[in-house]
Symmetry: C2
Subunit: 318 residues, 2 copies
C-alpha cells in the first residue's frame, strides 16, 4: 500500500496570499471543487538508497517533497529513512492546473501508506498543506472549504468537505491555453501582491463573505449564484495581481478570447461562468447539459478542453 | 472665428465614476496628458435653419452636443439660435481613444467663438465637462489635473494645468487594436462598476493619493515614478471593471499581447509603461529616444501605432 491517486482541485473562491509562509497558512478562506478527469499517481518507497524524486519520468530536485515526508515521520514520531518517490501527472505540471494540489495530496497518502501509518484525513490534509496550501483540499472529494482559522500554529486552518461529489453534478470545462510552466510561481506572485497591491487589504476583507455565499450556493445547488460569486472572487484575486508592482500578467491573448466566448455564451442564455488561477488557463463552471455547447465555443481558442465532474478525494490504490 | 481644434487627452491617473451624473462630476480626481498627434476640428454655425450635426461626414443625432450649446448660451445669458455643427476626427471615434474629450473641447471653443463670446479657459473647461467629463482637461495643453472638488454644483471640480507641453518632452505611443466602437459606453460602464464592484470604495480612496504622486512625478520629470503610478491607477480602474457583475471586458486578445510586450521591454531595461481606457487600445508612456524600439515591439500586435508628444490645449483657428 504505497501508491496513491489524487485529483487536482479548482478554487471557486480563491486562495491567494499567506499569513504564514512557513506553515502555508492562508490569508483568506477558500472553497474548491475536486476534479474527476485528471490525476496524480504517486508511489513512495519508504526506505531507499537515497532521497530520490522522479516526476513525469524525469529525476527532479524538490526539497519540499522530502520536507513533507520529514513532517509525516515527525508527526508519527518515527524516523524517516531515505525515500524514493515516483510521481506522474496525466496533465501539465506547474501550468496553473493545480498539479501541486494533487501532487502533495497523493504524496502524503502514499507516504503514510508506505510507512504503515494510520492517519486521519484531517492529519493527512494538514501535512499536504505544508507542501502546497491548496493540496489540503484535494484530500477530500466534491466541494471543499479551507477554513481561514486564527490559531498561530494553523491547527484550525483545516480543509473540510462541504458536500460530496454526488451532491451536485456540475461540470468544470478546462480550456488549456498553454502547457508551459507559469511565468511567476504562485508563492512569489502571492508575495508580490501582498507587498505591493493597494487592493490587498480589501481582498482580505472580501474572502470570508465570498466563501459563505459560495457555500450557500453549493448547498442550494444554485449555479448562477455560485458562478457569480466565483467570478467575483476570481477577478478580485486578479485585481491584486494586476495592481502589483510590477503587474503580474498571468493571462495570455487566448485567455481573453476565451473570456469573451464565456460572456457571449451567457448573453445567449447558456449558464457558463469563468475562473482562472495563476496561469493563462480558463475553467468554465456549468451543468452537464451545456458541456458540448461550451466546449464547441471554447475549442477554437484552446489547445484542448476537458470537462470534469466532481471527483473523489485522495486514496490509496488497493 | 467659428472653427476650433482640440486634441484628445489620455489620463495618466484615471477618471472612472461619477459622483453626479447630470453635472458630470467625477468620483475621483484625475491627471492627464494632452496628445499632439490627433485632433478634432469642429465648426459651429451660430444661426442655422435647424440644429444639425455632421460628424466625420455623416449626419448624426447626439442631443448632448446641443445641450452643451444651450448651456453655453445660458452661461452668457444670450438666446441660442439653431446651430449647425460640423466636426471631424482624424482618428477613430468612440473607440477608447478620447474622441469625446477632444470633441466637446473643440465644440465649446468653436461655439463660443461663433457666438462672439469671450469666455475664460475655466468657463470653457466647465462647459466642455458637461458634454463629457474628460473633455474639461482637453482645454489645456500638456499635463492637466482635474480636481475632485466638494461643491455640489461642481464649481470647484475644475481642470487646471499642472505643466505646459514644453515642461517635459515625453511620448505616448498609442497602439490601436480595434477601430470599432467600444463594447459598453463609458457612462454605462462606470455605473456598472459603481453599483456592483466590491472594490468601488477602495477605488475612491486610491484616487487622491495617486494624483498627488503623479503630479510630483511630473514636476520632478521622473518617468519611472510616473509610469508606476499610471500603471497602478490603470489596473485599479480595471479592477472595478473586472469585478463588476457582469464583468466589463474591454480588453481584446491583442491587448494582452501588447501588455506582455511592454513587460518584456521593461525587463530589457527600456522605460515603457502601459495604460488603457474603456476600450482595447494600449498606450505606452516613454521618452522620445525609446519610441522606435517600442513601436517596433508593439507593431506586430496592432493595426497601427502613433507616437504623440505633449499637445496644446483647444484653440480657435485663426
Amino acid at each position: 500500500m504505497n501508491t496513491a491517486i489524487a485529483h487536482p482541485n479548482i478554487a471557486l473562491v480563491k486562495y491567494w496570499g499567506k499569513r504564514d509562509a512557513a506553515l502555508n497558512l492562508p490569508a483568506v478562506p477558500s472553497l474548491s471543487l475536486t476534479l474527476s478527469g485528471w490525476h496524480t499517481r504517486t508511489q513512495v518507497q519508504w526506505g531507499a538508497e537515497r532521497d530520490e524524486l522522479i516526476l513525469d519520468d524525469e529525476p527532479r530536485t524538490d526539497p519540499k517533497v522530502f520536507r513533507v515526508l520529514d513532517l509525516l515521520a515527525q508527526h508519527a514520531a518515527i524516523p524517516r529513512p531515505p525515500c524514493r518517490v515516483v510521481s506522474h501527472n496525466d496533465f501539465p505540471t506547474g501550468a496553473g492546473l493545480a498539479s501541486s494540489a494533487s501532487g502533495f495530496a497523493a504524496l502524503v497518502v502514499a507516504g503514510a501508506g508506505a510507512a504503515g501509518l494510520e492517519l486521519s484525513r484531517g492529519e493527512l490534509s494538514m501535512l499536504a498543506r505544508r507542501g502546497s496550501g491548496s493540496a489540503c483540499r484535494s484530500l477530500y472529494g466534491g466541494f471543499v472549504q479551507w477554513h481561514l482559522g486564527t490559531a498561530p500554529d494553523g491547527t484550525d486552518s483545516v480543509a473540510e468537505p462541504v458536500a460530496p461529489p454526488e451532491h451536485w453534478d456540475v461540470r468544470m470545462v478546462v480550456a488549456v491555453v498553454s502547457e508551459g510552466p507559469k511565468s511567476t510561481g504562485s508563492t512569489e506572485g502571492m508575495e508580490r501582491s501582498r507587498k505591493s497591491s493597494p487592493l490587498w487589504s480589501t481582498w482580505l476583507e472580501l474572502g470570508p463573505p465570498l466563501v459563505e455565499q459560495a457555500r450557500q450556493a453549493v448547498m442550494a445547488r444554485d449555479l448562477e449564484a455560485l458562478g457569480t460569486v466565483m467570478e467575483r472572487s476570481t477577478y478580485s484575486m486578479y485585481s491584486t495581481m494586476f495592481t502589483a508592482t510590477p503587474p503580474l500578467l498571468y493571462w495570455q491573448p487566448a485567455t481573453v478570447a476565451l473570456l469573451h466566448e464565456v460572456a457571449a455564451l451567457r448573453a445567449r442564455g447558456v449558464g457558463a461562468w469563468a475562473t482562472m488561477d495563476a496561469g493563462p488557463q480558463v475553467k468554465v463552471l456549468c451543468l452537464p447539459g451545456d458541456v458540448q455547447t461550451i466546449q464547441s465555443a471554447l475549442a477554437p481558442h484552446a489547445l484542448r478542453t476537458l470537462a470534469h465532474g466532481p471527483g473523489p478525494g485522495a486514496y490509496l490504490e488497493p
